[in-house]
């Protein structure tokens, strides 16, 4: 089955082509069903490939399928090839699985939109690009997918492009991502110049064999990290992601929470042998950037009132945790958190989409409240997602976050304290959101007029096709922790380290690397501490927002994201703009001037030459005669015969 791995991208490609050709005719909702069926097909193939690989001995769990020679240019030989190994198949499983659920949700959510079929066209194109990204056997194929998901992200953020803010947000995401792409491309060039190939096996093989110089490895790792920072919205390039919430909510769930933004984490995991041989400061840098992002975004999330903005900053924060894990050498934990996060954050986003839908496109949490009475299923599933992200055992987020914290303590106690503090903030702002939306007082009645519902306004529960994905994702968010339970003494062996064993030959950095640290010795204690922190955050938020015992502190500086975005905007609008104008002027005057000048010169010359074209036969004969004389002169005199 692993040799049929090309079917995974083939299904969404087929869907893309079919919707491209017949999308209008299929219309609403048939185009949505078609798109969903295609993604389900990919998921089934991925499951088949998974069982195929599981059945093999550990060393043989990698299969390369070469479709064709893509770039055959002397030394640069790049194949359009897919690599089916535990990492890529694992990614495919959760990408296609969650994408399928989100497709289903979108059928209900996008119902009635005039561009319904186009939405699913883009979604299928996105899934195609994403699986190409994770299945790529070399950096170039991954880059193809990388650019593809970036394009789809742009198209889908500005899906409602008649909205000024949506069009701007799409452009912002695209331009910001170019910075990251620049890093990715340079890394690719550097990798090719170092090992003469862009395939992962060659690159990682050189790193493992020790033939990759430390400086080269450092360069590749840092440049790929730059690419990852752009794609995964880390400091200093995070600011496109909150704006990306302008896109339809299923897009936020699929692209800007579950899959695309985790591409950076995947990429760094894929090249982990290169990071291992790079300079020591590289992992530390990655860890600090991740940690700073996690803390920064968590503080901003404290003061957001837009239901999706809270989740957006929360996503940035959780991605920061994943980079913290990578920097700490906890690749398995990073992938683990990526998977659990995909489940619970997709759940939260879809839940928020259900709320927005039920509230007739209202996104301001201050105008919600007490919705659990009107939307029981949405509320129940959202609460499971909340408990998972807050880190309450036994929900999935607890296990993955706990593992990251463990590795963080092993790396540096300072980081651990900051990470723990961030975990408290996470629990706090998520509790705040749940209270503002589903509990407390209903504040929407006074705003009913604004929603266009004249007189009668009542939030409503969403349709079954939207609720089904919520329920499935809630179940996953609750139990996904079982794929990688820690080795606590009371646990049966069969439940431990499932994910680590699965990823083993690819990622050598399991818990075995930190067994001699005090952190490892006290991991039971750490789990209790983490739980206590989560509960503390929740209790604090309940006191502030539910019981109103403590006055809420939401300074404007947090609501404005520490003025970071604004500063960048004013810089780009001021000195940046001036610099761009100067470049444009240089292009117009000097570059174009040279071209136009040449054109004018040619034209002037032509004007002169054409004077010889008199239209008189005698003139023409004279020119021919002159040619004859010159010709004879050359042959007879020039060659020295006479």
């Amino acid at each position: 089955m692993a040799d049929l791995v090309w079917l995974i991208p083939a299904f969404p490609l087929l869907g893309f082509v079919l919707i491209l050709l017949f999308g209008r005719r299929l219309g609403d909702p048939k185009a949505g069903y078609l798109a969903s069926a295609m993604v389900l097909g990919s998921f089934v193939v991925a499951v088949g490939a998974y069982f195929d690989l599981v059945g093999r001995p550990e060393g043989e769990r990698a299969e390369i399928t070469t479709l064709f020679s893509w770039v055959p240019v002397s030394a640069l030989q790049v194949d359009m090839a897919f690599l089916a190994d535990p990492l890529s198949i694992g990614m495919c499983l959760f990408v296609t699985g969650i994408a399928f659920l989100i497709h289903l949700f979108a059928i209900g959510y996008m119902h009635g939109d005039p561009k319904f079929s186009k939405f699913f066209l883009y979604l299928n194109l996105f899934v195609l690009s994403m699986v190409v990204l994770v299945l790529g056997e070399n950096l170039l194929v991954t880059f193809l997918g990388w650019e593809g998901v970036g394009t789809c992200s742009y198209l889908l953020i500005s899906f409602w492009h008649d909205r000024e803010s949506a069009a701007t947000a799409g452009k912002k995401a695209f331009v910001t991502n170019r910075v990251g792409d620049w890093g990715f491309m340079l890394a690719m060039f550097l990798g090719f110049s170092a090992v003469g190939s862009v395939s992962y096996s060659a690159l990682n093989g050189a790193a493992v064999a020790g033939t990759l110089a430390e400086t080269t490895a450092t360069g590749i790792a840092v440049l790929l990290f730059v690419g990852a920072v752009g794609k995964s919205a880390q400091l200093p390039l995070y600011f496109w992601l909150p704006d990306a919430m302008e896109g339809p909510t299923p897009v936020s769930a699929l692209i800007h929470a579950a899959t695309m933004v985790t591409a950076g984490v995947f990429l760094l995991t894929r090249v982990n042998p290169v990071i291992a041989v790079s300079a020591d400061w590289v992992p530390t840098l990655i860890a600090w950037v991740g940690l700073a992002t996690a803390l920064f975004a968590a503080t901003v999330a404290l003061a957001q009132n837009d239901i999706k903005k809270v989740l957006a900053y929360s996503t940035v924060s959780q991605l920061g945790f994943m980079f913290l894990a990578i920097g700490s050498g906890a690749y398995v934990a990073a992938i683990f958190h990526m998977i659990t996060h995909a489940a619970f954050k997709a759940l939260l986003f879809l839940g928020s989409g259900s709320v927005i839908h039920g509230m007739h496109d209202e996104q301001d949490m201050r105008k919600m409240g007490r919705l659990r009475a009107f939307m029981p299923v949405t509320a129940g599933t959202f609460i499971i997602g909340w408990l998972a992200i807050a880190g309450v055992p036994p929900f999935s987020g607890f296990w993955s976050k706990d593992e990251i914290l463990l590795f963080t303590l092993a790396k540096s106690p300072v980081m651990y304290v900051i990470a723990l503090f961030t975990a408290i903030l996470t629990a706090f702002y998520m509790t705040r959101q749940v209270i503002m939306v589903f509990f407390g007082e209903a504040t929407w009645e006074s705003h009913a007029e604004e929603h266009g519902a004249h007189g009668e306004f009542k939030p409503h529960e969403s349709s079954p096709i939207m609720l089904f994905p919520l329920v499935v994702l809630a179940a996953l968010a609750a139990v996904l922790g079982i794929i990688q339970l820690p080795s606590l003494s009371w646990m049966p062996d069969v439940l431990r380290y499932r994910l680590e064993d699965w990823l083993h030959p690819l990622v050598e950095f399991g818990e075995a690397n930190i067994t001699d640290t005090t952190a490892y010795a006290n991991k039971g204690l750490l789990a209790i501490l983490a739980t206590a922190c989560a509960l503390a955050g929740i209790v604090l938020a309940v006191l502030v927002y539910q019981r109103k015992k403590i006055k809420a502190v939401e300074p404007q500086i947090l609501a404005d994201g520490w003025y970071y975005d604004r500063t960048i905007t004013s810089f780009m609008g001021g000195p940046g703009r001036a610099a761009f104008d100067a470049t444009a002027a240089f292009d117009a005057k000097v570059v174009d001037g040279a071209v136009n000048g040449t054109g004018t010169l040619v034209r002037a010359a032509g004007g002169q030459v054409r004077k010889g074209q008199t239209g008189f036969i005698r003139g023409y004969a004279a020119i021919v005669g002159l040619g004859v004389v010159l010709m004879l002169a050359w042959f007879v005199l020039g060659r020295g015969v006479l």
Binding site: G606, A621, R639, V641
Partner: protein
Amino acid sequence: MPQEFVGPSIDWFALSPLLVLLGGGLFLLVAGALTPRWPRGWYALASASTAGTAAVLSVFQWSIIDRDGPGTLVAGALAFDHFAQFMTILLCSAVVLVSLLCDDDVRGTDREGPEVFALLLMAALGGVVMASANDLIVMFLGLEILSLALYVLVASDRRRSESQEGGMKYFVLGGFASAFFLYGIALLYGGTGSTNISDIVAGFQAGVSTGREDALILAGVALLLVGLGFKIAAVPFHVWVPDVYQGAPTPITAFMASVGKASAFAALLRVLVVALPFHRDDWRPVIWVLALLSLTLAPMMAIVQTNVKRMLAYGSISHAGFMLVAFEAAGHRAGEADPGTGMQSVVVYLAVYSALTIGTMAVISLVSRAQGGDTRLTILAGLATRHPVLALSLTLLLIAQAGVPLTSGFVAKFGAIQAAVTEGSYVIAIVAMAAAVIAAFVYLRIMVTVWMSTAPGADRQMLAYVSLGAPADDADGDAADGDAAAGAAATSTSTATATSTEVDTTGAAIAPEAITLSTAVVIAATVTFTIVVGVAPGWFLDLAANVTNYAR
């Protein structure tokens, strides 16, 4: 004892392409004169099927040569080799396409009849004789058959004074050039003692060790080059081209640019590469200079034109420059066992350019006919909205002429420049690349008119824009057109220009052109060829690589 005349043994089948062309042409003339007017399209069908038959017969000859190797026919008068057959197929294919175009052009006019088609076949016969001549006198016969037919064809639209003017100019100047050619043969005969190419080569091989430079031979080569330089329209022997290409009926312009040019290049090859490889260091610098002049001057002149046929006329001169670049490369290796890729590039370029020019002229002809015979650039304005497919085809043919990759034009240009670089002729290779850029501007200008100018009322502004800010109502093209001081020869042109201006201003709304089947077939065929050769050039290059095995 009187010497007994022994007739040469004649391989009639090997001559069959020639005989079919001759028979078809004569049949059309005689039968056409003796019978009442044939039903519509039958004349064209007859000439197209005659040429098609000749092409198919030539394919058979090709396989015979594959088997038996090259040789000579009719006592050494004609060469029987791949090159001759390649050119025969090329010329006959061009006749098929041009016949279809002429059918549309003459239908419903007083030119309808067998004459044009008979002349097309005769011209092709002359071209085939030139391409397969193994004797300079035979070559001269072919040249004259071709030229005489062309003189009449150019002037065949006898109600249009531009056509008559073109025919007259071509005839006078052509006669002038033919005289040089003939005198060149005479001098060469004086120097070598023979007009037969095999004998000339044998003579050189015998006498080469003496290293003797014979003034007669060199002067003869010079004059032969003048005659053929005139036919291939290399600067400075190009002077007739703009006026004649513009004046001739558009399908005939296509015919001259394809059949006329290909035949002349074939003859040039026979004379220089086959007969005179021992003087290659004498004639190669001349080719170099002709290429340089053609490459630089022609695009410059094309830029300042406002008549689309005149632009394409200068374009054809610049294409001749490219072919000369490849020819110069072939000159480095003339007579050697390894001929290099020069000659292969020339014949590829000829075939590619013939298809491109016929296709382009087909579109121009169609559009021009709907607008009263006007051929200024403005007639193409708004074609994209009237006929998107036609506009797209024209664009494709034009970007191919500009040499954009994935079209046949790129394959041709690349081959020419690559051949030059391989032989170390870096200067003209670089000049050729720069010239391609200037030439591309000309084609882009046509495309801009086709796609970006919609309303006929906006033509003048558009024209001002596309001609780099020149006043739009500037005199058409060169001083030859609309020059107030022009004499008798030129006044007719200015009258025609004035008339067509009136047509343009009075007829504000342009009716969409009616696309006829035969023209559509021609456009489709040339576009297909352009793309197929552009995308998969391998088979065609392999085919063309055969031609360098000449009969001597």
